[in-house]
């Protein structure tokens, strides 16, 4: 008995909470604990499948959906809102922003229209998130 509980105690002590992250898969915002258990990492604190997936992804390759705007010529508004259609590796966020900063497209734009394809071979496309008709010139 003594021996066993000691072993459990040692095991517990070697479990280190490496990092606490907030799950962003939904507005619940669960706290996920990334725990190093001897040689492997374990995720705890998730409340659904999406949460586990997010934690695992965050561990090996953190990615984010990026939303921003692209300059539009001749549009009802000077910009059209856009998003990445898939999460983008975090390290590429500012590279993407720089590319988008220099982009300019012509109106009209339709929601879902791809404005930039396969950014840096990541498979991530930039798509418009609203319709943007042409500017109607008033007399």
């Amino acid at each position: 008995m003594e021996k066993l509980s000691l072993r459990l105690w040692v095991r517990k002590m070697t479990r280190v909470v490496e990092k606490e992250i907030t799950c962003i898969a939904c507005p619940m915002g669960c706290k996920l604990e990334i725990i190093r258990d001897e040689d492997k990492y374990v995720i705890e604190g998730y409340k659904c499948k999406k949460g586990l997936e997010y934690g695992e992804q965050e561990l090996k390759d953190p990615r984010r959906i990026i939303t921003t705007t692209v300059t539009v010529k001749g549009g009802f508004l000077p910009l059209v809102p856009v998003k990445t259609d898939k999460p983008l590796p975090k390290g590429l966020i500012f590279d993407l922003m720089k590319v988008i900063d220099g982009m300019s497209i012509e109106a009209p734009v339709e929601m879902g229209q791809i404005l930039l394809e396969n950014f840096q071979e990541t498979g991530v496309n930039i798509v418009a998130t609203r319709d943007l008709p042409e500017k109607i010139l008033k007399k």
Binding site: C26, T67, T68, P81, K83, K90, R130
Partner: protein
């Protein structure tokens, strides 16, 4: 003349108009002051909308576009660039728009005007009043819809969601966000937004901190911040100056009910919106209210849900089909700052969803609906925070069994 006049073409107005049409209202009119439908969603270009409504994650404009497309398919009259000047108890709506001044008689009216931001003046922000002090939502519109940057070195006051979203947005566009300063011991925004908007970009969140002074006569040059204690007193020796050229305020939203007041609609001092019964009818028969003009929501999906109730019952009222019956009051009890609706109509064929907000954070919480000592319904929640609305539903049978005042309370482990 119209069956249902919907004032406001944001998410609440769009949802109400569509539901009114679906319920059988023949003529439905949306009055929108802006140049297009969609309301504030048009400037909320970030994602996170629609998880409840569409089971997928959409951006604000996408969420709006789905409803706008439906409105286009229905025969709903949309008046853009149209400001409502006046509203009477007998549902005459005076508007100013492309056709000049017009009076439209509605069989019923849905108020869906949304909310506005609290300002520097309302929070007694001290020091100078220079250029570069913006409400976060105003800055969001300038960036996302007009295409201008408001500044390069930014401090954000208040950790409301708009402030957090703008911290990320301005960072992505090349600005340096130096800190988010929050007077409360917890953020007033969603946890996920702290993670993905602040932590991702190493933006410090300074809880229990206050801005003491604003510097800069013409354009803001900096702010003095300091820590505050539980009694809101400055902690000596913690004052420091952060230089910045921009201060964004994200210090709360207020339902915009000036028009409702013109129509003599009674308001609740807690929600700052109309007092409604479970059909979303206000104290004035035939005038309904929903969305952020009724109470400030944190998730648009719930605005949509609420707007459907308002739209459906506005259509019923217009067709003389609105069920009438005994009403009983609801009241916030322990741990609850407000409950909505403030009155339950016992004969409501749809049952009712009670919305409520907690006063502080509770862990392992139970939400209890009580009639005197009798427990009517209970719901367990792992975590309840003031920034996230709680819902609890009573079905038609449960409703019919009630006969006295209803008290809603939260019990659980208080956590700050």
């Amino acid at each position: 003349m119209a069956d249902v006049i919907v004032i406001g073409g944001g998410p609440a107005g769009l949802g109400a108009a569509l539901e009114a049409k679906k319920t059988g209202a023949e003529s439905v009119v949306i009055l929108e002051r802006d140049r297009e439908l969609g309301g504030i969603l048009n400037q909320c270009i970030h994602n996170g909308f629609g998880l409840h409504e569409f089971q997928e994650e959409l951006t604000g404009p996408e969420y709006a576009q789905r409803f706008i497309n439906q409105v286009k398919d229905e025969e709903i009259d949309v008046y853009l660039n149209t400001m409502v000047l006046d509203l009477t108890e007998d549902r005459k709506v005076t508007v100013l728009g492309d056709e000049g001044v017009q009076v439209i008689q509605g069989k019923s009216v849905v108020l869906a005007m949304g909310c506005r931001e609290r300002t520097a003046g309302a929070i007694d922000l001290q020091g100078y009043r220079p250029a570069g002090v913006y409400n976060a939502g105003m800055a969001q519109r300038i960036l996302n819809m007009e295409g201008y940057q408001v500044g390069r070195e930014v401090v954000i006051y208040g950790s409301g969601d708009i402030g957090l979203i703008m911290a990320r947005r301005m960072t992505l566009e090349g600005a340096k966000v130096k800190a988010v300063v929050e007077v409360m011991p917890h953020s007033s925004g969603l946890y996920r937004n702290i993670a993905q908007c602040l932590e991702d970009y190493d933006i410090p969140l300074l809880l229990r901190h206050q801005i003491q002074k604003v510097y800069g006569k013409d354009r803001i040059e900096g702010v003095t911040i300091s820590q505050i204690d539980d009694q809101w007193r400055t902690v000596e020796g913690t004052e420091k100056i952060i230089s910045c050229d921009t201060l964004l305020l994200s210090v709360g939203l207020i339902p915009e009910n000036e028009l409702s007041e013109k129509g003599n609609v009674p308001l609740d001092s807690g929600t700052k919106g109309a007092i409604v019964n479970s059909t979303m009818e206000t104290g004035i028969p035939g005038i309904f209210s929903c969305g952020n003009v009724l109470h400030v929501h944190d998730i648009v999906d719930f605005v949509t849900k609420e707007s459907r109730i308002a739209g459906r019952n506005a259509a019923r009222f217009a067709r003389n089909e609105l069920p009438r019956g005994e009403e009983i009051p609801t009241r916030p009890g322990k741990g609850v700052t407000y409950t909505l609706p403030q009155k339950l109509m016992l004969e409501d064929p749809d049952g009712v969803t009670l919305f409520l907000r907690s006063d502080v954070i509770y862990k392992k919480a139970r939400v209890k609906v009580k009639e005197g000592d009798r427990l009517v319904k209970e719901k367990r929640e792992r975590l309840i925070v003031p920034s996230e609305m709680v819902q609890i539903t009573l079905d038609p049978e449960e409703l019919r069994e009630l006969n006295g005042e209803i008290i809603v309370e939260i019990v659980g482990e208080k956590n700050d």
